[in-house]
Amino acid sequence: MGSELPPLSLALKQDAPIPLDVSLSTRRGELLALIGPSGSGKTTVLRSIAGLYRPAGGRITAGGETWLDTDAGIDLAPQARRVGLVFQDYALFPHLTALDNVRLAMLGEKESERTRRAKDLLARVHLAGLEARRPDQLSGGERQRVALARALARNPKVLLLDEPFSAVDRMTREPLKEELAGLHRALDIPIVLVTHDLEEAQSLADRICVLERGKALQIGTPEDIRLRPAAMGVARLMGQTNLIAGLVLNGSHIRCGPHVIAARQLNGARVGDEVTALFPADCISLIDDVGGRPNLLRGTLSELQSLGDVTGLTLDFEGMRLRMKVPTREASMRALRPGLMVDVELDPAFVHVIRKS
């Protein structure tokens, strides 16, 4: 029963005190990342799913059960929702051992079964041997793992993670991310990850939902969101800098400053429309031969910025400034330096047109 239904689907709407206008549904075993700046409502969405926040209007169904339906007067308590939630600072019970933290989330089960399963869960998150430690005797990464084991203890229908990596240092973060990716492959339930870290969302999520002021701006694959943002807000949130005002000339060309640029598709924009053209870093390449291809531009290298094994380039094409990255090795082989004339190609397939909203 309910196998055709999405494992988690929600539609939340309210104007105040926190504006919310989000509707989404997940697929089986999908990891969905909610990203957005602070105050965008992503944690509120997560808390609404867990039943810790009650939006003015909305509907949430999970695993065939209705958890919230404000029209029908249904609002299940958090205890009745079977969610696993990893809090930002983990919120472990400070007076209990790691084992008891996990065991407490299985109160309804038999005593022996609770201990056995709690040990299994701790072993699954690589904490075997640390069962007797209390939270203050564990490192940040270990605490996160206890929180994860506790969240899984109720056999949740949805796993919710609120900025799970923000409280651990960079060194600890990478292995934890790999473990989460492994867990995601092994679990059949949807995982909703709240983060403000783009890289984290890109590397872990199957789909990303971009939120701004409580509104879902776009939901799509990481590649969609990065290369084909639906709105300027999304492009900016994704850290895109090559956003140039343009004018649609015909079905396949736009004018950006003095340049006429070919674009494979115009995203519904019509001739004469004012648009914004996005040139993702993926679509720009330095070239040596300038024979017979579209979108060849010659400009000046105005700035070089070393970012470790890649180098950031700022290029000026008669007033149109674009940024791109090349491997540092390539930059030194080409003897790139400020003031050098360079030729680049913009791949028409990646030129993305954003219509004015």
Binding site: L52, G84, L85, D100, M106, R150
Partner: protein, 224 residues
Amino acid sequence: MDWPAFSLTLQLAVWTVALLLPCAVLIARLLAWGRIPMRGAIEALIMLPLVLPPTVLGFYLLVAFSPQSELGRALGAIFGRAPVFSFTGILLASLIVNLPFAVQPIQRAFEAIPRNVREAAFVSGLSRWQTMRRIELPLAWPGIISAIALTFAHTLGEFGVILMIGGSIPGETRVLSIAIYDRVQAFDIAGAGVMSAVLLGFSLFAIAVVHTLARRKGAASHGI
């Protein structure tokens, strides 16, 4: 040494702690997390015995508990007679006087529990009652121990309010502090000295016991 006064003082302290503690836990929890109107006014009212001169508080309680007042008659119907100049009267007064000493430390302890720890308990499937029993009370334990110590010690030494409402009836309302005062009035300095020393020793002992308990309970891991 006035042993009946000593025994009466102990009874008063034990009864005060036993009756006040459950009320204080409920009031403290409500003040810490409950959505209650006029929270500030209620907190101020609970704090009042701290700042009011004991004789003034005692005077008002005497008037309130007297057979001439509505409250006095109502209490008289429950306890057989109006609770002035009786053990019941000094116990009721002691409960009121000690309210801030019992509520404050427990309220602070509850307030120190992060909200998301309680939410984590809810999300882990614990009912409100289970959350209180397994999470909140163990975490608030040092505050509860402080409340017991303060209430107990404060009751041992209470003088003004008890004198006003209970007078000095041997075996009924004459607690140690009043007995000491009576001895001094009668120029029996040696007798007053012995009783003062006993009270001092007992107060120190009581505080040492509860603090040791608090430390042990805090350090031990809590099985569930």
